[in-house]
Symmetry: D3
Subunit: 137 residues, 6 copies
């Protein structure tokens, strides 16, 4: 059977501050610039999750996108939408919420929960101009 | 010579209904949800076709995009734009018109018709949130 | 209090065919072109609904956008999303489903159901290139 | 001379929380939902500012958009980009940072600072789906 | 009959240079900045044309958008697409090709050529961030 | 450490003309069509540059995107934004400014200037419909 890649894009908004607690404020400022402002800021994030697999010959799907949508809602969005990424999310404790670290953490939330298809990419847009892709490497 | 990938994006609108005639309506409903509504619905599709090849040293093109545009118009869009994908398209007979199956069928329409460049990807967006990529695998 | 305009944008997909049953197929074809293809096609519609009113001094809202979102879901989207606009929608019976007629019909669905704010615009995009705005005139 | 409207669109990201300090947490929750989450969240805002005036017959501009861009940078973005709207911005003290209130506050920052053209609209998008327009009424 | 506004959006690309021949290079440079670079530059323009009129009760159109598309192609795009706006376009002779002046010139091309509907707006986007609207005032 | 890909998207506008000086005008016209119009035209280009590397465990970045943004500004945009690509850019001398050739030339400008991360892709959009990706092959 042909193998295809299916992508679902979802949106969430969240607050964050880039700050490494092992460093003093000056080093945080020089490393992260305005992203380390003490009271935080936030973004509308776009999240694109891609899975790969054979197209089911009877159904014509690699995977039911409603199932992927539901999984993203339950395993990811319910925790991070309208949340503060430094404080509110159990699976981000101890993680500086850069786009890179968020992409890896979201991958870890999803891997193992997707049945019958293989997770191949998590791409996260922080703004229209900046994005990070993690492929599990 | 350097090898590059050139992508042409085109748009079309079409009607469809997800329905496997081997199944009864209930199984279709549980498999496809609202996408199996009896009277059909439709979408504005975005189609991105990517070809790869050496850049011609005199012309500076991998492939003339006007030729690719014309090929897409003749081999694909003339049949499916403003059409009903379940009924009107000879090369979709017997195919449940999921995005996956459409991407594979469009690949099959194009492969062999592209000269001097190699077809590497057909990506089809059914909505801004859902897309499928087929790479011939 | 200052008066502001608040817009909520929602999406739906639907099938339709432009066809006036009082005319023969040829006149339909010459009037509507490919939009009158017998088996129909469809679109991803973008719907922008704008209401105007005073900003509540304590809340800071003209209107709770969750309430507007819910109203759009119940009064409009639940009937037309994934539907065939020629057949499935009670409040579109006898209406040729042009973008103009849809915008007016959606206005009529909403007017009177919005409390504490004034409906001022229904804008409907059939494609990225074509849209209609109806302001109740 | 012909009169035209010129629009400049800029982007900023900021954190906020919808919370009226005169109310208890429960009333805030019932009014603002997830937008009142205690630790805040944030958005990528799009801001569109429109001015109107005669087209200068020699220059061909209503207003130099570089001047408008600079004004927006100095009077608005330098204070709110990468900031927390509840805490960091002097001209938002005591304001619940709803999109409506932000649009009015931005209008008030700009009016009087635009020379030779008339401010006619401040439109602020909180997400791709929600926006507010304030016209000074 | 209800009155609606119908908008058609088209694209073109063109080269231009902002330069007033009555001025010396220095004054042009201080007025137009990099837009007066001697060898010119260019843009992908988005043009939105809006007409207003009664919805025809039998057809359901204010105006056939194919007719508007054809008019835009013949009266505007055929002259300015892939052209140099300072040199190639008869109806732009003597006009500094600012977005304002282009919007007015396009209005003048269209007015009188639209039958059965009233031209109400020409909006021209030079970039995603800058646009001008002309309403005939 | 996990390996991620970070993309920065920037915009520029430029003028160009597709023309091979070794050929007569007729051959240029038949090869490049309207893109060889004698007085040139132009585009708003979107440039996406992707680098790959390990995520720094303390900082959480593959690479500081401000550094990438600055590099793109200094090594690429300062030369080509608001420029004529046939005339004004030293590192494009003798190059027919097709999107393919531009992507390769931009790659060559960047490679070797990016420290601590590996350049993996330069993608250049000439219009919303046409793009070229060069991966150094």
């Amino acid at each position: 059977m042909p193998i295809a890649r299916v992508t679902r894009r979802v949106h969430f908004c969240a607050g964050h501050r880039l700050y490494n607690p092992d460093w003093d404020p000056e080093r945080n400022r020089s490393t992260y610039g305005a992203c380390s402002n003490p009271n935080g800021h936030g973004h509308n994030y776009d999240l694109e999750v891609t899975v790969e697999g054979e197209i089911d010959p009877k159904i014509g799907y690699v995977m039911d996108l409603r199932a992927l949508k539901n999984l993203l809602g339950e395993a990811v969005l319910s925790d991070i939408d309208h949340a503060n990424l430094n404080v509110d999310v159990p699976w981000l404790q101890g993680v500086v919420p850069t786009t890179e670290n968020l992409a890896v953490a979201i991958w870890d939330r999803l891997e193992g929960r997707i049945l019958n298809a293989r997770l191949v990419s998590v791409r996260l847009w922080e703004t229209e101009r900046n994005s990070v892709e993690y492929r599990g490497d």
